[in-house]
Amino acid sequence: MKNKMLAVPYLVWMAVFTIIPLAIVFYFAFTDTVTGEATFRNIVLLGQYGSILFKSAWLALVSSLLCLIIGYPVAYYIAGCSPRKQRFLYMLVMLPMCMSFLLRTLAWVALLEDTGIINRFIITLGLRPLPLIRNDGAVILGMVYNFLPYMILPLYSVIMKIDPRLIEAAQDLGCNSRQVFGKVVLPLSLPGMISGVTMVFVPAVSTFYISQKLGSSGTALIGDVIESQFKTAYNPNLGAAMSLGLMAVVFTCIALMNRFSGDDGESMVTV
């Protein structure tokens, strides 16, 4: 009984700061900006923003996959190191997360700008400056850079937990090291991949700062549009509807990914 009482503060917190705000978002999404009457107009209007929503999801997905491709070997390498080295490398992965997200993104602006560090160097070489910023590539770069630790950490902890005896068992049954990886390590790290992709995808799909700083006006993402509804267009009702739309996209994506992760253990009790 006492243990249950300990959960009360958080339950209250959750009610006040999660459930109630969510209810308010719902309320706004289904009411008219001017009259305050119940309406589906905001939801219908979402259709106009479908392409932006799709683009956001697409860029977030590409970033997630890039993070996976870059992050997996890193996580695999760290998991195989001595405990001392593991702690050091783990800290190194965490380190960027200790710095301000805004600062990190602005640093990329300083690097990539037309008159930024990289282009100035290129100009001194006598070459034409490259269009490094204000495009999708720069946005993806910003997402990958900022969210890579969220991929590496869950992968690392899952790979770490793979029982070394399973690897020995695979060797024992005739697997060379490539087969051990393909038949045992990779499938067993699938949960880490799923949670890594989710951890990267969710913040990436809703980000607005990265796209504002690194993207062009044409690469406005759903996060930017939602922000503008509240800050410049003064249409919180449409903004709320967009938030709901985004939530729906995120939930759908997570559900799809969990589907891929397959039937993990308990859920498969048969016979």
């Binding site: 049954l173 005739g174 067993l188 253990g265 308990e266 009790v269 048969t270």
Partner: protein, 386 residues
């Protein structure tokens, strides 16, 4: 049965500068059930892992079928392992676990299917094909692990304490099952355990190990009846181990008494360890025995009682089916069969002591009488009371 399947020649294995195995020489015959027995840290699992190829010897050679495999990786060896905690693949069902090695070997699906079914039959797991391994009981997981290892038709099956995690009843059943499978398939089993009873029950050959050395190799009967040193005597079953002196062939003196025994070939007056198994000791009335003492504790063990008998300070363990009350004054009788003499070793004085040794034992009136000789002459009434 006589062909050497595996040879370990002068094998030494060092971990971080510490010797885990020192100069191991061992051969394993084709088709035998060999058990590596010893306490934890004795090197038995290291020996198994060397044979499997998970670790490489620091010195010496390992031969399989006469071929030096000392540096051959595990996946190229004709041996398969049943791991201590099964190590089943959690992402695969029972069928795919058993088929794992066969798929790696790129057998046709038809053949894989036939083999997996054959294995399921052998380990009595028909109908469990599509179960997740995580939903199986410990005993069932154990069977899957055995089937998975046997499916590859290895020349040798290595088993690393495979029954350690099972409860007593299941362990007994699986012991019988393993022995049956081994005999049915005629595959060589190398079995690692710290459970002496398991080793005695299942093995053709027992290898007793301690501190990185092989202490004794022999049949279960040899190991039990003729332990080579105090360690083996104590580790295999219970033993009362006494200091003695070999006065002559077939004549040993301990407790200030001379006893007939079955051992010879020691130096005259050589100090020796004398082993007396607690179940061999016959209890007789106090005045009719070779030695007499007082029962100081009685423990009911189901089949028998463990009683500790104090012979003026030196305590023996005696196992008897007749209840003796605490405080009772009893006598014991030893026949030459009951006495086993061993050479003194580094282990002498470390084991087999149910109290501290007391040299002042002088219960028997005539210190020069040779006990055991007059056994045949014992009156019938006394025999009945044994």
């Amino acid at each position: 049965m006589s062909k050497h399947l595996i040879d370990l020649v002068g094998v030494r294995k060092t971990f971080d500068g510490e010797d885990a195995l020192k100069n191991i020489n061992l051969y394993i015959r084709d088709g035998e059930f060999l058990t590596l027995l010893g306490p934890s840290g004795c090197g038995k699992t290291t020996t198994l892992r060397l044979i499997a190829g998970f670790i490489l010897p620091t010195e010496g050679k390992i031969l399989i079928d006469g071929q030096d495999v000392s540096n051959v990786p595990p996946y190229k060896r004709r041996v398969n392992t049943v791991f201590q905690k099964y190590a089943l693949f959690p992402h695969l069902d029972v069928y795919d676990n058993i088929a794992f090695g066969l798929r790696i070997a790129k057998l046709s699906e038809d053949e894989i299917d036939a083999r997996v079914n054959e294995m399921l039959e052998i380990v009595s797991l028909k109908g469990f094909e599509n179960r997740r391994t995580t939903t199986l009981s410990g005993g069932q997981q154990q069977r899957v692990a055995i089937a998975r290892a046997l499916a590859n038709r290895p020349g040798v099956l290595l088993l690393d304490e495979p029954l350690g995690a099972l409860d007593l009843r299941l362990r007994k059943d699986m012991q019988n099952e393993l022995k049956r499978i081994q005999q049915q398939l005629g595959i060589t089993f190398i079995y690692v355990t710290h459970d002496q009873e398991e080793a005695l029950t299942m093995s053709d050959t027992v290898v007793v190990m301690d501190r990185g050395h092989i202490q004794q190799i022999g049949t279960p009967e040899d190991i039990y009846n003729e332990p080579k040193n105090a360690f083996v005597a104590d580790f295999i079953g219970e033993s009362n181990i006494l200091d003695g002196v070999m006065r002559d062939d077939y004549l040993v003196e301990f407790f200030g008494r001379k006893f007939k025994c079955m051992d010879k070939g020691f130096g005259k007056n050589e100090p020796v360890d004398v082993v007396i198994r607690p179940e061999d000791i016959d209890i007789v009335p106090a005045d009719a025995g070779h030695l007499s003492g007082t029962v100081t504790s009685v423990t009911f063990k189901g089949v028998h009682y463990d009683i500790i008998v104090d012979f003026k300070g030196f305590k023996w363990l005696i196992q008897t089916t007749d209840h003796q009350p605490e405080g009772a004054h009893i006598g014991i009788k030893l026949t030459p069969d009951d006495i086993h003499v061993m050479k003194k070793t580094e282990y002498s004085g470390m084991y087999g002591d149910y109290s501290s040794y007391s040299a002042e034992y002088d219960e028997i009136n005539d210190p020069d009488a040779v006990i055991g000789e007059e056994d045949e002459a014992l009156p019938q009434e006394e025999r009945d009371e044994e």
